[in-house]
Structure formats: structure tokens, C-alpha cells
Symmetry: C2
Amino acid sequence: MTALRDPIRLIPALFLTAIALGTLLLWLPISTADGTQTAFLTALFTSTSAVAVTGLIVVDTATYWSPFGQGVILFLFQIGGFGIMTAASLFGLMAGRGFGLRDRIATQVERSRLEVGDARSVLKLVLAITLIVEAALAAILTGRFMLSYNFPFGEALWHGTFHAISAFNNAGFSSFSDSVMGFQSDAVILLPIMLAVVLTALGFPVMQDLRHHGVSWRRWTLHTKITVSGTAGLLLGGFLAILAMEWANPDTLGSMSVGAKILNAAFHSVMPRTAGFNSLDVGAFHDETLMANYFLMFIGGGSAGTAGGIKITTFAVLLAVVLSEVLRRKDADVFGRRFGHAVERQALTVVVLAGSLIFGATTYLAMITPLPFEDLLFESISAFSTVGLSTGVTAELPPAGQIVIIALMFIGRVGTITVATALALGGEPRPFRYPEENPIVG
Amino acid sequence: MTALRDPIRLIPALFLTAIALGTLLLWLPISTADGTQTAFLTALFTSTSAVAVTGLIVVDTATYWSPFGQGVILFLFQIGGFGIMTAASLFGLMAGRGFGLRDRIATQVERSRLEVGDARSVLKLVLAITLIVEAALAAILTGRFMLSYNFPFGEALWHGTFHAISAFNNAGFSSFSDSVMGFQSDAVILLPIMLAVVLTALGFPVMQDLRHHGVSWRRWTLHTKITVSGTAGLLLGGFLAILAMEWANPDTLGSMSVGAKILNAAFHSVMPRTAGFNSLDVGAFHDETLMANYFLMFIGGGSAGTAGGIKITTFAVLLAVVLSEVLRRKDADVFGRRFGHAVERQALTVVVLAGSLIFGATTYLAMITPLPFEDLLFESISAFSTVGLSTGVTAELPPAGQIVIIALMFIGRVGTITVATALALGGEPRPFRYPEENPIVG
Ligand SMILES: [K+]
Ligand SMILES: [K+]
């Protein structure tokens, strides 16, 4: 059994190694624009944010770091994202192959989808998808930067490539000081980024299902059906909420044409899951828009991918359980299938742990800083769900606050994927059970 | 089956009738101190707050209402509290008797505890406990008001009785404009109120178990064990958190002696579950203290009593499930007993519905008012959990906001007890089940 548990130690070890190497590289004077040595905590924060594909920053990526430093950051979120997709896929494959198998994994999508391949084909597939999508997106963005904004070719290529890789990996880093706010009326920049984010935030199992079965509802796994329809629902709901809530806000959508309002509301319905670019000033959002963002960021994207949050399927399981209880049915059914007891408990666990972490972190941040509560809560959710959006308080956090955010980003990205793998591999059965007795609840 | 479902319609109908009658009485000019007619919404808000034993107010109880009006409020929270305790006990009894029985109720505490009695003995017991505790508490408070504060007898008796009944029913209404802030250094006033609240917030099944078996851990039901130990843990944790967080706050504990700091921190660890008196200015609490209060208020007290919130047992079930998943065990065990699948789903449902209601209400309040987010969230949790504490924004809410709070108080009090009864009585089994298929979550 020890050997089987190795992956559970391997994932955090690999991520910690990447973060440590990134910290050391960013610590070098060559990484900063003015050639001075960065504070250790700043290097650690930036490296963790990049490897965990979060995108929260305490210094401006565009002006603080040298081209070398920006290249290090680019490399870190590329290997971070690639590592996450590969790990999720490979351990799904391992679990599906039958060692350490438990009932909860036996019926999961990886089994039917991933047994067909082997480790090498999974790696090749991840690599192929990465290269194709990133190259296509980089080409579009580079072309647009050259043709419409008169960037020199080298500069256009750099910004285009940076944003393409950042978008594909849901990393949220931008090589512009104001993220993509300078292009808020340019659909040719914003729409391709949105499409890449929506696709990759579905997660690897869904991308593989789409590749095998195309847009064929009947042949999709339950996991794909839930993730795709949940994504559609959240995108539509988020779009309408942001459009309505910010319509007249003079600091966001207020002064825009109707077309630009629609484009930017759509962009900001996509970014909370969990890409983290911003075309609007998040710090100027109304409180109710921040709340809509809390909700969208907490849920995040699809499982086993670069998206963070509790995941769409987790949320769907919760909703289905609640609905079945309200309708007084014994089973939680979705799309003609019922969920097992184990997956219901797992979903509950994910939500309670995520909520507790965010609650605890926000309380601690409130104790050590005078910053507004709604901004600290936003920052905590954004860090845990590896979104990278901020109302602008990240750089104002004291060292202890930055360490909390570093911990949230690491746990939110590495912890959840490790726990999911651990759960999938299963535990030792106990030789006895206690008798059942139930309290009155509610 | 129709007759069996009547209780589910009966409870809201009785509460709505009480609220309607209370609204009409408070609407009469005789109810106000200056003899003018109250706005209808103010009368409705106050009546709902009283019947739902919440204690949120839009006008000052002591100065706005006449003695007649205050008497109406007193009567409303007394019948509200009595109605809740009786309903919870009687429907537990009915469900235990075997009609409409489902597995989830079959093993619950009511069955073993309440089958021994019948409806009349339950009513008599509730009445006896009410009268004894209220009379004892009223005697202590009246004596103290006379002897130490030189109140005339009539005035002392009025304030003593009002606070005794309010404390016993966890109503949170005070006949003083500043609640009990005028007695913040007087342990003879604060301690008896705390004791009454701690006892009654345990809920009726626990009180009955204590009466039958005394302080005998071994003979207690699982429900009693969880509620009592959970109460102890939350009181201790809340006390330490509030003491530490507010220790140096000049507007709360800061200027007090160490003894008074301890007394008031203890008082404010008891009040969020869900009594609602305040000896400190809640509006002056630090953000982190508000967060500790969010947590304590959301959990609330024991099931089947005048306490609100999701209840201690619900929280315990969630924690046990999370712990069992983290430890990779198949069962959620507490005190040598395992929980059934149904109670886990029920706990999840209660928490998700409660959280959604509070989230939705806070978002709406943020849209229609410019009030601070942390205060609106506090107000929503306080209303749903029928706590009655406020940072002071209740009276500043526009009519639409007051209606939201009215709805939260009603759903939080009447809705939850009705849903619990409906769940206990069970639903119709479906003649088929879908095949099981599980998505990847987390
Ligand atoms: K991100
Ligand atoms: K109350």
C-alpha cells in the first residue's frame, strides 16, 4: 500500500520543488527591471501564484520584473498548468487500472475514458492540446496587437504569447500593468481569450470526452453532461447578473456602448472560473457584484483541469441532494442517473473544507489589517479558487497576510488535487462498524 | 395521507394567524406611546419579529410603543416560543407513533423519548418548564432592579418579567432602549439571563432527556450528547474569540476591568445562540468579531426548541462526515454511534438552503441600500437564525429591505420547523430508481 500512496506525496513534492526553484530564480537580481534583489517573500508569493496558476500579484508583472523575470513567471505557470492536467489525468488512469480501487472511483469517468489509453498517450494528448490551443490563440493576439495597435512584431509576439499561455492555463497573469483593461472594447482580443478559458476550464476528462464523442449529448458521460450544462448555466447567470448590477456604474460599464457593456459583462462572467484577467476595474464593482463574483469564484470550473474552486460537479451534487430532499425523494438524480452515497459525502467534504479555509483566512486577515471586509473575503476566495482577480488589496497586505494568501493558493491548487487523489485511492477498511443512531437535525 | 400532511400546513397557518393578529393590535393607535397610528410595515415587522422570537426592531421597543403595545409584543413572543416548543414536541410524538413513519425518524430521539408520554403530558411539561423558569428568572431580575437600582416595585416587576420571558423564549426583545447595556458590569442581572438562555437553547428533547436522566452521560441519547457537548464547545470557543478580539477595543471591552471583560465576553458568547440581548455595542465590534458572530449565529442552538440557526446537531453531522472522509473511513462516527445516510443528506440540505437564503438576501440588500456589506450580512444571518442582534442598520433599511428581513425571520423560524416535520413524515416512494453514475468532484 505504501507505494500506492506515493502519488499523494509526489504531487505536493513536485509543486513545492517548482515553487522553490521559481522563488530562487525570481530572487536573482537579473529578474527585476531595475536589477535589485527582490524581497524573499515577494519572490515566494509570485512563484506560488504562478505555479498554482492563480495570478494574484504583489508587484506589477509588467514593470517590476525584467524580461527574464517575466519569462520565469511564464515558464512557472506553464509547467504548473501542465503539471495539474497531467497529474489529474494520470492518477485518474492509475485509479481506473484497479490498484487501490474504491467504489467511488470505479464508476467515475476516468475509468471508461482513460482505460483506453496509457500514460504516454495521456501525456501526448495533454501536450498536443496545449500546443495547438496556445499557438492558435497566440497567433490571433499577436496579429491583432500588430495590425490594430501598431506593436512592433517582437513586442506583439511577446504579449500575444504571454496572454495565450496565461489564458490556456487559467493563470491570470498579464504582461500589461492593467491586465486587459486597455482592450475592453476590442472583441478580437477578448473573445478568443474567453473561448480558450471556457474550453480549458472544463477540465481534462471533459476535453477528452469532447474529442472522442464531439457534441453528442447522448454519448457523453454524466461528468461531461454536468460540467458542460453547469458551465453554460453559470456563464449565462453570471453574464446577466454582472450586466444588470454594473449597467449604470460609471466606473465600470456605465459609460460604455451597449455592445461594449455586453462584451465586458460576458468577459467577466468567464473570468471568475478561474482565469483571472480583468477588462473592468474589479475594485469599482458594487458590493452585490462582488457577491455574485464570490459565488462564481467559489464554484470555479471543471474537475481535473487548471480551473480552481470547489468545481461545477461538486456544486451540482449538492444541488441535486437538496432538490431530492425537498421533493422527498430517496435518490439525488441528474440526467437519468443517481449519485452514490460516497460522492455525496465527498462533495459535502469539499465544500465544508473550502468554506472553512476561506472563512478562517478572512477572519485572520480582518484581524491583522484595517482593509474592508468585502475586499478581504474577495481576496481569500480568489486565492483559494486560484482565480487571481482582486479588488486591489493584494499589495497592501502585511507579510503575515501575504503568507496566508500563499497558503490558500497552495492548498487551493495542490491540496485539493492531492486530497481528490487520496480519496480516489481509498483507505483501509475498518474491521467493525458502530451501531447507527441519528440526532434530530435542522 | 392527506390528513397526515395537515400538520405541515397547520404550523405556518397558526404562525401566520398569530402574526396577523399581532400586526392588527400593534397597528391600533393605543399601541404607540404617542397614540398615533403606526405604519403598517412597522407593525408587521415587529409582530413577525416577536412571533418568530427574533428581536430585530425598526422602532425602539421602550419608547415607541405604549405599555399596551409592549404587552402585545410580550404576549406575541411568549405564544411564539410556546408554539414552537409544543409543535416540535407534538410532531415528534406523532411521527414516533408510526403514521407516516420513515427510517429517518424511526431512530430519532423523539421515538424513544416521546412515546412514553402523550400529547397532554407534553403540553403540561412544556407549560411547567416555561412557568417555573420564567417565574424564577423574573423574581431574581425584579429583586435586583428594586434593591440595586431603586426601581419602584411595579417598574421592577415589569422589566424583570419582560426580560425573563424574553430570555426564556430566546426572543431578544428588551424593555430598555439600550437592551442590557446598562447592566454590563452586573453579574446578578447577566448571569441568570445567560443560564436561562443556555438551558432553553438546548431544545425540548434535550431538556426532557435531562429531566429524565439528569447529568448522566451514559444514559443520554446521542442527540443530547451532541447538543450538550457542542454547546459547551461553542460557548468556550466563542468566549475566547470575543475576549481576545475585543480585549483592547475602546468601544466594547477596552475600558472595562478584567472581571467585566470576562463577564461580557461570556454574555456575548451566549447571545448569538440565539437570544439576541446585547450588553456591548455590536455595531462597534471589529470585523473579525463580526465574523465569529456570523459563525455562532449561523449554527445557533439545539433542535426542536426556541433557538434558531442550522442547529448544533446539523453542524456536528457535517463535521463528522468531513472528518470521516479526511480519515478515509466509510462511516461518520460520533460517541460510538454512526450516522445514517439520510441524516447526512438532511444536514447538507439544511446548510445549503440556509446559506443560499442568507447569501441571496444579503446580495439583494446590497443592491437596494448603500449600507456596509458586513452589516447587511450580519443582519441577514441574525434574521434567518432568529438571533435579533444587529449592528444597528435595521431601522435604516428601506421598505423592500424590511420585507426581506420579515421573510427571513419567518422562513428561519416557521419554514425550518415545517420542513423538518415534512421530512420526518416522509414522502411517497417512487416505483423505480435510476442507475448509479458518479461525476468527479472537487
Ligand atoms: K487564475
Ligand atoms: K432571538
